[in-house]
């Protein structure tokens, strides 16, 4: 933790003022340590930072999330607008909401 609730900047919204200001940084462990213990890391800029070791080899959390049916549907609709089908479309209606998008394992 960097600043406790009472030490924070004046004039910030109440929800923010009531929680600490905290920070995380990654680096090479200066000496081996266990998760949860106090440890030091040497950062990429060759500085030493200390604090509670919260993760070892922390996984990258950002991903692409779930597919968005809404975006897939409007993409398809705009393609139909631009390239009107030359034959009657066997599936003229597209789902509008919900979870009607999936994946199957093919079989013959």
């Amino acid at each position: 933790m960097i600043l406790k609730p009472g030490e924070r900047a004046p004039g910030i919204p109440a929800d923010t003022a009531s929680v600490p200001f905290a920070a995380r940084v990654r680096g090479f462990l200066v000496t081996p340590a266990r998760r949860g213990a106090t440890a030091q890391v040497r950062t990429q800029a060759d500085r030493v930072a200390s604090g509670r070791l919260r993760a070892v080899l922390p996984r990258n959390p950002a991903d692409f999330g779930e597919p968005s049916l809404e975006l897939l549907v409007v993409g398809k609709a705009m393609k139909r607008r631009l390239y009107p089908p030359s034959r009657p479309d066997p599936h003229p209606t597209l789902p509008q909401r919900g979870r009607e998008f999936g994946q199957v394992e093919g079989e013959r």
Binding site: R47, N60, A62, L71
Partner: protein
């Protein structure tokens, strides 16, 4: 070691910044505390445009392609009045090192830091700029420390900013991920004080000069590739550097298109609120920065902001989150370009504004940025759903910030909304008037404020008259 108490660190801010910028801002201040020598400040870097272009070419920045988007133009024409539906062009800034136009700014800031002999640079930014600084510092062999606002108090990371952490670390930077709050600036000061590194702020003259090449290239490319000047340029607008630098570059090339700023409408969500933080599906190019920076540009980490949007904006529009996601999808599916969030803000507005212009007019979307995990609409929409925000297809007018994201269901549903620039000018001047109970301005201040608000002396006189008649409000800190 000096005290690290919040108030005491903030009190040292002037001295810390002076050392971390290598520039004395006092030399530009004019009598009275209102006006300063803006052209003197932006003109202070000792590089002409050719020198800037050379630095950028040496460090993998600039000369990005200007593509035409004929299928999007054709789609717009299907619902536009006869003879209307401009040719939409896009400047593919994702091709810069680190994947966005921010490399233009970083290339000069880091060049300057290296020239001055700093051992490293620090930037407090959750955006593409951090990646750009890290990438430029990597090429210069100097250290980079990037400070990012990433988490709310339950440690939920904003997906796009988590990706920014990854990319900055990929370029070898030390990255501090902090929780929501303006104390990011406090941590920035401590970091500068402890390291003695250069503050690679977005808002120095270097951060602006680097963007001028972007405006200049657009003018050149429109002339070379299409034989004419652009009618209008759409610029994703947040802190104002993008508008300022691009407009200045266009002027340098002798081009005078309409300068249109575009921000995602996030009105109603508080920028410093722990709760609202992850209820925003955009981390930049939105009204949460665009409005306050336009009205009060000096609320930044340097004494005077070189980015001053109101000087250059001819028009300012907003667009909803769902309309930007719609534009992002069409750019991929119809034009074969998968690009990132902020760049597509101005693209979404283009789908609306192209309808107003004749078919042969050139409408330039001034940038793209890279996309990837966390930056992608699917990552943002997944997060939004997890927080109980409704996502559906329909009329974007039904969008409700922080509650409902509506993906446009047809091309003519995309409609940019005009912001009253006069209202923003009045707010800007209201702040000044509050500091001047007797409402008197010197000649120098009058000229400065007319330039600041982007109006003629006559228009300014009328505006000031209106503002001066308001009751006197207690001066704000």
């Amino acid at each position: 070691m000096s005290s690290q108490k919040y108030a005491e660190v903030m009190a040292r801010r002037g001295a810390i910044m002076q050392r971390a910028l290598g520039l004395d801002y006092d030399q530009f201040e004019l009598e009275g505390g209102v006006a300063f020598d803006y052209e003197g400040l932006v003109g202070s870097p000792a590089y002409d445009l050719d020198a800037v272009r050379r630095i950028q070419a040496d460090f993998k920045v600039g000369n990005t392609p200007l593509w035409e988007l004929p299928r999007l133009s054709q789609l717009v024409r299907q619902t536009a009045p006869h003879g209307q539906g401009a040719r939409i062009l896009i400047k593919d800034e994702a091709g810069n090192a680190a994947g966005s136009f921010k490399a233009r700014r970083a290339s000069l800031a880091v060049a300057h830091a290296a020239d001055l002999g700093y051992e490293g640079v620090v930037a407090a930014t959750s955006g593409n700029y951090g990646a750009a600084v890290a990438s430029q510092a990597a090429m210069r062999g100097i250290k980079a420390i990037i400070l990012q606002e990433v988490f709310d108090s339950p440690w939920r990371g904003q997906p796009e900013i988590l990706e920014k952490t990854r990319v900055c670390e990929a370029y070898g930077a030390e990255v501090w991920q902090v929780t929501v709050g303006p104390e990011l600036f406090y941590w920035h000061l401590i970091t500068l004080e402890e390291t003695g590194f250069f503050n690679a702020s977005l808002y120095t003259p270097y951060g602006i000069l680097g963007i001028e090449t972007l405006g200049y290239e657009i003018a050149e490319q429109c002339r070379d590739q299409f034989g004419r000047d652009p009618a209008a340029i759409l610029i994703t607008h947040s802190g104002g550097g993008n508008v300022t630098g691009t407009a200045r570059g266009l002027r340098r090339a002798g081009a005078d298109p309409q300068i249109i700023g575009v921000s995602v409408d996030l009105t109603g969500l508080h920028m410093a609120s722990d709760r609202d933080f992850n209820r925003k599906s955009f981390t930049t190019g939105h009204t949460g920065f665009g409005f306050p920076f336009t009205v009060n540009p000096d609320r930044v980490d340097v004494p005077r902001n070189a980015a001053r949007g109101l000087r250059y904006l001819d028009r300012y529009v907003t667009i909803t989150q769902g309309e930007v996601f719609f534009a992002t999808q069409l750019l991929a599916e119809l034009e074969g370009l998968e690009r990132g969030p902020a760049g597509n803000t101005s693209l979404a507005a283009a789908l609306s504004i192209a309808r107003e212009l004749p078919e042969d007019a050139l409408l330039v979307v001034q940038e793209t940025e890279y996309t990837g995990a966390g930056k992608h609409p699917t990552a943002q929409l997944t997060m939004a759903r997890e927080l109980g925000i409704e996502v559906r297809i329909g009329d974007p007018r039904e969008n409700k910030q922080g509650k409902r994201i509506v993906i446009a269901d047809d091309i003519d549903q995309v409609q940019a909304v005009d912001i009253d620039l006069k209202g923003l000018r009045r707010s800007y001047l209201g702040r000044i008037a509050d500091k001047r109970p007797n409402r008197s301005l010197s000649q120098e201040e009058t000229q400065f404020l007319a330039d600041e608000t982007g109006v003629s002396r006559d228009e300014f006189a009328a505006l000031w008259d209106e503002v001066a008649r308001r009751p006197i409000v207690k001066a704000q800190a």
